[in-house]
């Protein structure tokens, strides 16, 4: 009996396969504290119990992105331990708030497989769902990763490439939540949904330098075991020669930086897609800017609306001129190009 996991390889997956991921995780007040300490998150909803209650939340939910990382982290040992690359996300929906005391567990379904022409690896598409102790789904997302084959000669499965929406539709209005009593002064920003225009770009101004101890502590907090983040000894013989920062940590930093300009984007309702354009390493200083891609009213809701936002993170490059492209590809300073829906009081 093989007791040590070296992760699944491409030929270990079958379309339709259901995988229950290990290690349910009870989220505690300490997790949010540590997340605040490691990322600088300042959104009032997660920082203040009375603020959260004033919107109708039962408690102060943890940061949406923190909940994402915990669910994502559970999927790593089964899905992406042998990943060559994380290729993309889609259809990420945040379905219910996660409160301290909730226990998150995760399961994934394999929704697509396609061997690469070099027969060395293939693309695995999964849909991962995180649920709380009551079985309520709190978030779900699709992602696809390039996974090595154990044996080049293993037969290729029939290719199945799932249709994934280019963007999640207008998010639903959250049940039981109202911005009628939303206190913008407490939240730290005067601008509401009506003040943002499609096409508007916002430089988030601030920059934050990442240390090895920080990204590793964050990634371990999510019980994410991807070795490229932790093992400097093995990374010496990797193409980068050093530890790579978990792309999700960059998302967290960019979201925290976006407070300065989007302080009232209190809720991440969905992530339409995301791309880690370049790797991030310890010592890099992360900057961010946003673009308003779309805005939508929510049916029957005069108190809040949805903004579709592009969130771009860069390294060692302030964002006053909104760096993104260079020729056909990304500017080499761009780390992240994330497309998401946020909710904001009108």
């Amino acid at each position: 009996m093989n007791k040590t996991s070296t992760g699944n390889f491409f030929e270990d997956f079958r379309v339709g396969q259901e995988i229950a991921h290990a290690t349910p995780r009870t989220v505690g007040a300490g997790d949010q504290s540590l997340y605040t300490g490691l990322t600088g998150s300042r959104f009032a909803l997660h920082s203040s119990l009375p603020f959260a209650q004033s919107l109708g939340y039962a408690g102060a939910p943890i940061d949406d992105v923190l909940a994402f990382h915990i669910v994502f982290g559970k999927s790593v040992p089964d899905i992406s331990l042998n990943a060559v690359a994380n290729l993309g996300y889609a259809e990420c929906r945040f379905l219910a708030p996660v409160y301290p005391g909730d226990t998150l567990s995760a399961r994934s379904t394999v929704i697509g497989l396609r061997e690469n022409s070099n027969r060395e690896s293939g693309i695995v598409y999964v849909r991962t769902v995180g649920a709380n102790q009551a079985g309520v789904e709190v978030l779900s997302f699709a992602r696809w990763v390039m996974v090595r084959k154990r044996d080049r000669a293993a037969p290729a499965p029939a290719p199945v490439v799932p249709k994934l929406a280019e963007a999640v539709g207008t998010p639903a209005a959250p049940v039981g939540i109202s911005c009628a009593a939303y206190d913008r002064a407490a939240a730290g920003g005067a601008a509401g949904w009506t003040d943002y225009a499609v096409g508007e770009k916002i430089d988030h101004v601030d920059g934050i330098t990442v240390e090895e101890a920080e990204h590793m502590t964050a990634t371990r907090l999510y019980q994410n075991t991807a070795r490229i983040h932790f093992n400097a000894f093995a990374q010496k013989s990797d193409r980068f020669g050093r530890r790579l920062i978990y792309g999700g940590h960059v998302i967290s930093l960019a979201r925290a930086l976006s407070f300065n300009g989007l302080a009232n984007a209190f809720c991440v309702a969905a992530i339409n897609g995301g791309r880690h354009a370049n790797p991030c390493f310890a010592g890099d200083t992360v900057f961010a800017w946003s673009e308003v891609l779309d805005k939508r009213e929510l049916s029957g809701r005069a108190d809040l609306g949805a903004l579709r936002l592009r969130l771009v993170a860069t390294k060692d490059k302030p964002c006053a001129d909104f760096p993104l492209r260079a020729g056909e590809g990304y500017d080499p300073a761009v780390l992240l190009d994330l497309d998401y829906w946020a909710l904001m009081p009108r």
Copy 2:
């Protein structure tokens, strides 16, 4: 509408102006854990619930200095984002314990303004008050900072320089708190109030080296956004060439080090004044010593008394000979010269 804050400049302030700071913060058990992990705090009052209850506290309050940092941090985006220098503190009073579960918010009043003769900047004096969710003031302090002008030509306000007390008067005896059952063995020190003499100096012996990841995590935990602590890229072109450690982190380390010699100084009642004599950088090893400046009985209280203490922190210099002055100014190894009142069982 300008959505991104670049902070207030000198000409944005008016005497009498009231500023409600953003981001109320519910303090959790995780904050004290992280504070302990980052500073090494060992005072029994904050470490042990039964110990705190034995003195009459409703719970184990968080470290006084941690509460100070959280309130201070809220004031940074409005008051000192464009500060050239933090010049001083005065009249800091700790008015009520802060317990896990309390939500702190902060507001400031501008109590003085004086343009500098070079017209490039001016001094802003504020009084900042932190209150809990019930509106009870938990601490207040005055501070003054040198703030840049946006426009050199902006007219100077009439100078107003507030009278600030050189020292807070003898602290009041804390209501409902008694040291009758104070357990010195549990607290870790045999010496009580009667054992200390005015003029006595105490070398706190131990030293603690600071890492970038630590001071940044601490400062983010307080949601303090001053960019000099976080942005190595921008700091490369600053006069120091690197990130500067939040002066408050040095206070926390010095207070934690002072446990060895002042283990029973269980409560910081007031800070009379403080000066950050030299900057602290990652890699520096912080040492500390104290001097007893004064001691006072508290009216009607046989169980405890107040000590007025000077707390000096140095870098890379052990304190057996109590370094402080060099010629007219501070010894270049001195980081901090803090003057505070502590309470101690008699």
Copy 3:
């Protein structure tokens, strides 16, 4: 009155002496979060409240090794501040789970003393007990350390060397705990007690690089004050020239790494002995392997059994070939050789 502790020296100890250690410590949810973030612990018992309850625990207990570190840390200021070396542990028994909200305190008894022939130092043997707020003993262990003499000429006590068991006997079945409903898929491992064979060796595969900020934060979290871990300035003139990582942090990392291969070893019941074979420094990448030394049924229990395990940690050396010895001594890459009893569902 000497207010500052420089720790006890060899001649300050007497056989039979009882020492109540300072600073009771209320364990909070934040401590487990930080422990998870700093070590990568993934054992489901400590991660998930429902999982813990399914085994009959009243809550999700903190990691056994975290409880050990907190109790050990309390003993440091009294026992090992002037230690030249920590020589060994024995007879460590985990007697009751520690839950968030519990307050741990520690006391030690001097059970042996033997001056070294060079008269510069001597060996101090102590038994340390940690208890919770109800006075229930949660763990106890013996350890022996080489402690400097203050004065070489001080008379030697009559040598007393306690008999310590080479191994703790088969652990008792934990009262009220049952693995009848143990969910191996949730815990992350298929193998149970019956699947392990005496003599079997397991490479835990993964490696984790340690940073200064991490080991210092962990060690401060335990309120362990041993200066060699914190004071880079003083360490420059030490034989290693730099900060030494607390050996307990290596135990934590090795235990966390052992999840990959021993995911169902949910409970550390006892530590028979441990040796820190070589020092660990920041920048080292820690790997681990285990060997099954023994296995025992527990009387009357069909649901679980005990495994006696050797847990070996190395630095910068993957463990596929189970490095341990080199000639007469340890392989210079070996950091830790720990012998413990774990409980596992059958």
